[in-house]
Subunit: 421 residues, 2 copies
């Protein structure tokens, strides 16, 4: 503690900037190696859609559990329909009715049939169902107009699912129809990989919480609410989102709180007030600090125990960029989702030159134009949050590129979650 | 009531099937004309991501609200840096410090500078910020090594957002960065279009609720949980999901409950127990009943007041199909989402012939094969829910097609919400 306090004194060397920045790819490669499988939890089927199954699910029952009719029609003995046609209608006596959920209290014998509804149990003695369209009805008699083969229109016991069958395998992301399937075999709970527990911290004495008007020299924390929305979108459970003062004790406490992913915004650079990287290095490991990208060059990643800590610049645009590049990807990985961007991408021609620098990755907000072209938005002001709300999406200029000439076709990632641009 | 009871008697004419089926397109065209804008509600920013803004949002404040530094460096008078270079370093006296959230209680005069952090207020008298990299520091003095223009590295009042500016327009689907922007101007609530209120009813005396084991002739309601997951995925609020017995009074009550969208599964065909279409026709309007599609030919749509009622076949696969074609689309429309399928589509070659029929739309579950081809799954048994969990997705054969030859490239819609196949 003593030595770090000394370091935190007015330190002009540190203010000179990062000694060396890591490339985006080096950080991504490292991130890919991190993060084991999270533990599991049992949840209600109502909450399970989109979650990752933790265990194989084996059915304890047959579906159907009884032979059942697949049609509205007549349960009968197939042999009784031999030779039947529109010109040779064979009569049968209707001796009962089988409805879904109820058996027919009658046995089908030669010369008789039981009226049956879709889903109803096949009565004893019957071995086929003739669809209702294939008979003429006259009181309690029917006239069969078509031959039907044995077993026809009957769902056999276990035909859909057999007892002992593994119906869904672990690591599957559950779909709505899986929820239905799980219910059908008698479950209303399921074991899934728990959601990544996310904490969000915005540092800065100047920050007010949402709902306050910005006043004098204070501004409202916008990174917290934005990161919360992003984390929830990507499958995280946000345990807390709070503002922490720029002091050693408060930041240290925030760094040590239990979770899977901590996103801490502000105080990440190398300025006098930027305590976060120093304290993280003391409490755990500061793996990367300073990335060759624009915006977000002060982004960083560290580890304390099994928790990953993402240093996220305080500038709102840089914050969004750092989330999109690093913490979002890791969060989706832990949540068992596709780690790629959850944005739909389209190809568009640049309406003007887009200049970048070799050795640096650029995250460029762009606007779609009516002539099917795309316009990079003025790059100045990483702090201009409104530029990300005015933008339709973003493009990336990788670090081996100097940018693109006018009319180059580039890939644009659309912010709109509907993909409607 | 009296006359419908008569109709509900054993009625063999009705059991013969649908007189006429509508095409999928006719139903879709009609659906497109339905559904006005829902009313609005005020919700917390925490819940607002992905929701549709009901009103234009006008900022009551300037952002920034004060001139603030965009860099770590020194606030000074630009004229004092005229002619400065590495070879002509100009000295200034550092007279104070400006930190975020705090003003510097000192005025900058010629020959002086104030140390300043990113985001901190520009002290009186200063008109530019020189980045920290452009000075040499010696105790309380700095030596300026570069000329800086007036206004440089200062964010002006209202540069991001100006008071009175409309920052977001009504009908926008809110994005995470919008949530941040709304917070930054002092809001913690926002007026959005309310979610479509959805009720889900599964009819059938044979149905047990989730958590029960299927027994004897009874089966567990799987359509309810599946439809619930689908409706939530697509932005609906599920008010209730319940099982209703196959009797007139219970179904009538269910039809009359208040909501925007009622999905009622089972009892939709033309069999003896299929009361739903008849009761809907009595209480409101049965607009369509019977669609030229497979599965789901007994699907239908009706109206009671401003509520749309979707008749959904009881067979689980047909249920999923009817949701995908009709109720899901309408729900997404009311929720302000893209009405198109929320499934990623890929092109794949058929590994075998896919046969359909002119005049009928087919919803074909398919499996992706390792050789980049796609296999249609056996079409038999619309009741086989496991076929939709085994399928990777589905393809559609429109009603003007007889199907496709082997090796035809077809569009496959992937069930996996991650688009990972």
């Amino acid at each position: 503690m003593a030595n770090i306090k000394k370091q935190l004194k007015f330190d002009d060397v540190r203010m000179r900037g990062f000694k060396k920045r890591s490339t985006v790819n080096v950080v991504l490669e490292w991130l890919e190696q991190q993060g084991g499988k999270l533990s599991s939890q049992v949840i209600s089927l109502h909450q399970a859609n989109g979650r990752m199954l933790a265990l194989d699910v084996v059915s304890q029952v047959n579906i159907p559990g009884f032979p059942r009719s697949m049609m509205d029609g007549y349960a009968l003995i197939a042999a009784d329909t031999q030779g039947a046609s529109a010109y040779n209608q064979l009569p049968l006596q209707v001796v009962g009715k089988s409805l879904p959920g109820q058996g027919a209290n009658v046995k089908v014998r030669t010369g008789t049939a039981v009226k049956i509804m879709t889903g109803a149990p096949i009565p004893d003695g019957a071995n086929a169902v003739l669809p209702v369209e294939k008979v003429e009805v006259d009181g309690d008699s029917i006239f069969v107009m078509e031959n039907v083969a044995e077993g026809r229109n009957i769902a056999r016991i276990g035909e859909d699912i057999s007892k002992g069958q593994t119906i869904l395998h672990r690591n599957r992301i559950l779909r709505p129809q899986d929820i239905g399937l799980l219910a059908s075999i008698g479950l209303d709970k399921v074991s899934v990989i728990r959601q990544p527990q996310v904490r969000i911290v915005a540092t800065g004495n100047e920050l007010l919480s949402a709902g306050n008007n910005p006043d004098d020299y204070r501004i409202v924390n916008s990174n917290g609410p934005m990161l919360e929305a992003l984390a929830i979108r990507d499958g995280g459970h946000v345990v807390s989102s709070k503002i922490v003062a720029d002091d050693e004790q408060s930041i240290r406490e925030a760094l040590l709180e239990d979770c899977d992913i901590l996103m801490i915004s502000g105080g990440t650079s190398v300025g006098e007030e930027d305590l976060v990287p120093l304290l993280l290095a003391e409490e755990g490991e500061l793996v990367f600090h300073g990335v060759a990208m624009r915006p977000s060059r002060s982004a960083g990643v560290g580890v304390i125990g099994s928790k990953l800590i993402f240093l996220i610049p305080g500038n709102p645009v840089a914050c969004l960029c750092a989330y999109d590049f690093f913490s979002g990807r890791y969060l989706r990985k832990l949540a068992g989702k596709n780690t790629e961007w959850p944005y739909i991408s389209v190809l568009r021609k640049l309406d003007k030159k887009l200049v970048s620098m070799v050795g640096r990755t650029d995250y460029v907000r762009v606007r779609l134009l009516s002539d099917n072209k795309v316009e990079p938005l003025a790059i100045s002001g990483a702090g201009i949050l409104s530029s990300t709300t005015e933008a339709d999406g973003f493009a990336v200029v990788p670090d081996d590129s100097e940018g693109y000439e006018q009319d180059t076709e580039i890939e644009v990632f659309l912010y709109d979650q509907n993909g409607v641009a």
